[in-house]
Amino acid sequence: MVIDTESHVIYRLFPQNTNPGRPMTFRASWHEFNGDLFAAEMDRAGVDHAFLISYDAEDILWYLTTIQHATMEDCIAGRKYTLQAVKKHPSKFFWFATLKDPRRPDSDALVKADIDDGALGFKIFPAYFPLALTDAALMRVFRTCIETNRRIILSFEDPAPPTTPSFSQYFEQLNRVLTEFPGLKVQVNHAGCVDPLSEAAAGILDVVKRHDNVILSTAYLGMVWDDRWEYPYERYLARLKRLRDEVGIEKLAWATDWPWLEEFFSYPQSVDCIRNHASFFSSEEKDQFLGLNAWRFVEDLVPQYRQARIFQNA
């Protein structure tokens, strides 16, 4: 069982037509990365399932505007587009929706709609709102997820203190959330978005060590990709080893963030670098890392997911 715990399908990002300066080697700027392509990539790479995370352009507007100096029109993707792929490949994709600003008056209804449709949980970019993780609006969402047995995927991307909390503040808030909601199962993407080889990683590592209800997803670790094209990505592997040594294999889950980094590696390379080159993992550890830990994260949800509303008329 191999599961990719972070992936997306995208029609266009920073389209070439309106962003002629974008390199064509970033192919999402000019061609589609849809569910059929991803399913074919998974098949050839021997990947059974993927957490397929949908976001509308408005969900990542912070990133588009403050990081990329782009606009909402530069992300063509979203919930409906993703659900097309999910419906077409129901045995492959586990759908997660991205939470919209929980302060919106219609937030509860939107959350309920996603849950009713079958979302296994919600991805949250707290800095993009921007909100503290312990904000009352988010705490309400966490309660809803416990009540409905849904998962939370957190990504602490692009904080900008003082407008947003800092990484260390977010990690401290995560500790409080996990303490207050021991029944809430949480995945933290990009291993917390701080470089595991840096001292700053101690904050997230300490939290993960303290709680049983959190795992680290490991695409683009610490939002650093300094191996570029040089497979098998020794720096990435070094970061993984550090994580395993610090938090234990049972807290780690493999991920690619496909297709964001496809200009640097083919999809099979992203799993083969583990299979063939993560010599610091035992065979059993590879099995846990590549899929079993992720499966445990969602296993009890899968039977009802198969009956979800999104599949009823598929």
Binding site: T25, F264, S266, Y267, Q269
Partner: protein, 316 residues
């Protein structure tokens, strides 16, 4: 100067929309790979120029049909490629694929292509049922030599008795290279014989007999058994073997872009050598990645000689 000695541009090949056995993971089955994209890939990889080889659907029909495809499953060709060449005249050396003289006035086509800027031609002998020592083909090859153009031969997809065998073609190439003066010749895919096998001797002997013959090294031996496992140790071992048997001064780096897009990112196609071909000294590396190709394609402009170091490396 870094030169990729085998590339192509196309709308698509082995169309995955109409062929369920053609996987989308090779992107050339469903989206365009145009000159803009190739140039940007070259820029990222630090590649200055490329041999850009055009073929029309009919030129590769033999291979396509053997693989269950039809002419309609390839879209691209001479006109399309020429657009790319004209868009980036400083980046590409254009080679067009030869058609059969049994069906066309190939010498006239050669003249037309040269007038349009071609520096040479590609020939798939099996695809056009060529016997290179026939009068018709000798006429074409002599014409190419007289025009001081270059010839790339690819011995792909031989199916004896439908086509000549490898040994027969090697013999024909030897005869042609011996009899046609000033024929500037390179074999693609290192002659389409696995250098690690006994048959590799055929190409080594052919090269030994013809000091001006070069080998382009995309998918040497027409074999790709490294999968996605960068730095492609089997590829490296084949090129290393060729360094010994043929000599590094005869070898030219190539990727056959975009055909291997499912196996490696373009940058990996060169970094596997830059960063991992420890059998090449810096001087030999420069020759392999571009200097030898520069000498091949520029031989009619200046007759540079291989470096003494590269001659020593040959070791034969």
């Amino acid at each position: 100067m870094v030169i990729d000695t085998e590339t192509h541009i196309m709308y698509f090949a082995r169309n995955s929309r109409t062929n369920t056995h053609s996987s989308r993971v090779n992107h050339l089955t469903w989206h365009e790979h145009d000159a803009d994209l190739l140039v940007q890939e070259m820029n990222v990889a630090g590649v200055d120029r490329a041999f850009l080889i055009s073929y029309d659907a009919e030129d590769t029909r033999w291979s396509a049909e053997h693989l269950g495809f039809a002419m309609e499953d390839f879209a691209g060709g001479r006109k399309y490629t020429l657009q790319g060449v004209r868009q980036f005249p400083d980046r590409f050396y254009w080679f067009n694929t030869l058609k059969s003289p049994a069906r066309y006035d190939v010498c006239s086509q050669v003249d037309r292509d040269l007038a349009d800027g071609a520096v040479g031609f590609k020939l798939f002998p099996a695809y056009v049922g060529a016997t290179l020592t026939d009068d018709a083909w000798l006429t074409v090859l002599k014409h190419i030599a007289q025009k001081r153009a270059h010839l790339l031969i690819s011995l792909e997809t031989l199916r004896p008795p439908e086509s000549h065998s490898l040994a027969q073609y090697v013999e024909q190439i030897h005869a042609v290279a011996s009899s046609v003066a000033n024929l500037s010749l390179a074999l693609l895919h290192a002659g389409c014989v696995d250098p690690l096998t006994e048959d590799g001797r055929l190409i080594a002997q052919l090269c030994a007999a013809h000091p001006n013959m070069y080998l382009s090294t995309a998918m040497p031996g027409a074999i790709w058994d490294d999968g996605v496992e960068y730095p492609f140790r089997r590829l490296l071992s084949r090129v290393e073997r060729l360094c010994t048997t043929v000599g590094p001064e005869r070898l030219m780096w190539a990727t056959d872009w975009p055909w291997f897009g499912d196996c490696f990112v373009y940058k990996q196609g060169i970094d596997c050598f830059r960063n991992h071909a420890s059998f090449l000294t810096p001087d030999l590396m420069r020759g392999f990645l571009g200097g030898n190709a520069e000498r091949f394609v520029g031989r009619f402009a200046s007759a540079e000689q291989p470096s003494q170091e590269s001659l020593r490396m040959k070791g034969t």
